[in-house]
Amino acid sequence: MHITDILVTGEPIIYGAMVSMALVGIALLFLLTYFKKWGWLWREWLTTVDHKKIGVMYILSALLMLFRGGVDAMMMRVQLAFPDLGFLNSQHYNEIFTTHGTIMIIFMAMPFLIGLMNIIVPLQIGARDFAFPYLNALSFWSFFFGMALFNISFVIGGSPEAGWTSYTPLSGAAMSPGPGQNFYLMGLQLSGIGTLATGINLMVTILKMRAPGMKLFHMPIFTWSTLVTCFIIVFAFPILTVALALLTIDRIFGAQFFTLTGEGLPMMWANLFWMWGHPEVYIVILPAFGIFSEIIATFAKKRLFGYHAMVWSMIIIALLSFLVWVHHFFTMGAGAFVNSVFSISTMLIAVPTGVKIFNWLATLYKSKIEFTVPMLWSLAFIPSFILGGVTGVMLGMAAADYQFHNSYFLIAHFHYVLIAGTVFACFAGLVFWYPKMFGHKMNERLGKWAFWLFFFGFHVCFFPQYFLGLDGMPRRLFITNVVEWLPLNVISTVGAFGMGLGFIVFVYNVYYSFRYSERETTGDSWNGNGRTLEWATTTPVPYYNFATVPYVDEIDPYVRMKEEGKTTYEESKVKPIHMPSYTGQPFIMMAFLGLASFGLVFEWMYVAVFGLLGGIIMMIRRSFDYDDGYYVPVDEIKRTEKKARGL
């Protein structure tokens, strides 16, 4: 086989991307070699099982993917604002909206939130690591290789182009031959396994490793949102696993699940996809709710209003999330009765969500709000998200949905909930917990610039799209030569570039703060307003998190600790701490399984079998591995704590 058979050729933009990827790759290899950092990379990062480092790697990957998905979005917007320019051809446009959607949901939103969960949840509950640190590393690397596999598709083999929902029969072997769609299937499958493992891991961590005395209803709200999210992950992701596997078997082994021959049923794919897909939406929004709840309580300097109602509304949302999937395909023709049932269950979700909105407002009521950057993101979230939520109820009415379906009204709706909900929360959470991760805050002035640019850009971009939708503009449209649509499309594109600018300022702020920000001396970074246990740790957080685990029997335990002048550290109680050893096995195992997936994408069975065997051998090695970790001696703990606490 010749190399040009698998490389994507004939597109100047893609040649440009290839060259820039090659240059960045060479530059990275050169820098790592020149500064002799290979050993450091392997010892400190590739073999780590520390939840904080894994979380940082998740967030870095997610930011990279936000960039990639964002560039895709910009290209679409350019095409739509200047339809006569011939900037993209139709196939390239199809590829771009497919990768944009898939990357933003699977490889940006989820890893970003999982990264924050990784770092923060153990700190909030007083745990020293995850329940299964090895599995946590495995999860990360399975996500990472899934992401890498999906992303190389546009230079090798060709991108998937059947939309992020990948509906059959379009995405079947007959109508989408070639490796493109296989990249989608294998990339999602590989990273999905990691997500499921993370869900199990975090559930056990939260249920079994809380600080002594901490009951479930003493947990910080972000931890609660994580627990509920993981519950959804555990029960929703297997559905995706099966759906992807069935389509893979259809495409590669000629089965007839979703085909038009052999009495297959293409709409069954939509059914299975959305049975996972709708819970997935809540997987990315519930942690966002948790993050906003933490930030709003912190900067309103009050206990979260209606803590119990907040928790129960999340649990109800989680249960309802499994009962609404048909509202994504009301127009399939399932009949009035089926549609009515799902229409009602859809609208029911607005009730617990409304409860949450009112609780946030009640928390803010009569409080002395401190307008920090994370608080700005949180305050902007409330009205913006309501716009998305209300239009969601409109879409939930089956009869009306026949008008809105697959129009820009829908596009505007889900960007309003996913950006104003999830993306705002990712930025807010990252800025909020940044000092815990890196030992310094992000610059507030630049942070505000990034916020306002992104916030206005967002509304300018997506608000006009509601009207485009009502004017009848369908989604996934490559040529928009309808004159009435053009002005709003141009405005929307301007807004998109505003968001892009906001992102650039945000990334520049990372660099700027690394160079110039004041280093943290206390752990309680936000003017001593921290309420939960993560702020009770020193900054930077020692690798064992807590030298002595505090006793907790209330919500917001750190508030009282500070009032009583206590810390979590009691020198007399220090005992040796058991920690897991670093290991390169997860990386190697997932590299093998990544290779197997790559083989399946091109249907090179020898490669697939080789990779699978490698993966199995690594699993067997793991089974015989009785490494029980090591103990951190008392002296070392005392020394570390003395230094960190300036005693």
């Binding site: 555990v234 009495e263 009962l323």
Partner: protein, 124 residues
């Protein structure tokens, strides 16, 4: 752990006999009996659920207090099975459009229904 020291664990033996008996009854109902199809299906599904219960409670120690895992095991099983019901029944409910699930009917009618449905698809 008194029962652990017994040579023959009686609850395992009872569970085993129960599951064998229920399997035979289900097989008889499906193959040997002349009961109406609907009642056979309902009956054998109930037997299957009971057998799952035997496995979970008598073999898998789902409610063992010493595990220190509280309500989590049976909770996961309960929600898993509830969701299984939603997934199977919900899929049948949703995907039943234009397709008659009464497979007891003659093949010709079924064929007709399917053609009808495929025309529906091409119409979209």
């Amino acid at each position: 752990m008194a029962h652990s020291n017994k040579r023959v664990p009686m609850n395992h033996v009872i569970g085993f006999i129960l599951s064998l008996a229920m399997t035979l009854v289900a097989a008889w109902a499906a193959i040997g009996s002349d009961l109406p199809v609907r009642w056979v299906i309902i009956g054998i599904m109930i037997l299957a659920l009971l057998q799952a219960g035997v496995q979970l409670f008598m073999f898998m120690h789902v409610t063992e207090a010493e595990s220190g895992n509280g309500h989590v095991p049976w909770n996961m099983m309960f929600h898993g099975f509830a969701l299984a019901g939603i997934i199977v029944a919900g899929s049948l409910f949703t995907m039943s459009f234009g397709f008659d699930h009464n497979h007891g009917g003659d093949g010709g009618e079924q064929q007709h229904e399917q053609q009808h449905e495929q025309q529906d698809h091409s119409g979209h």
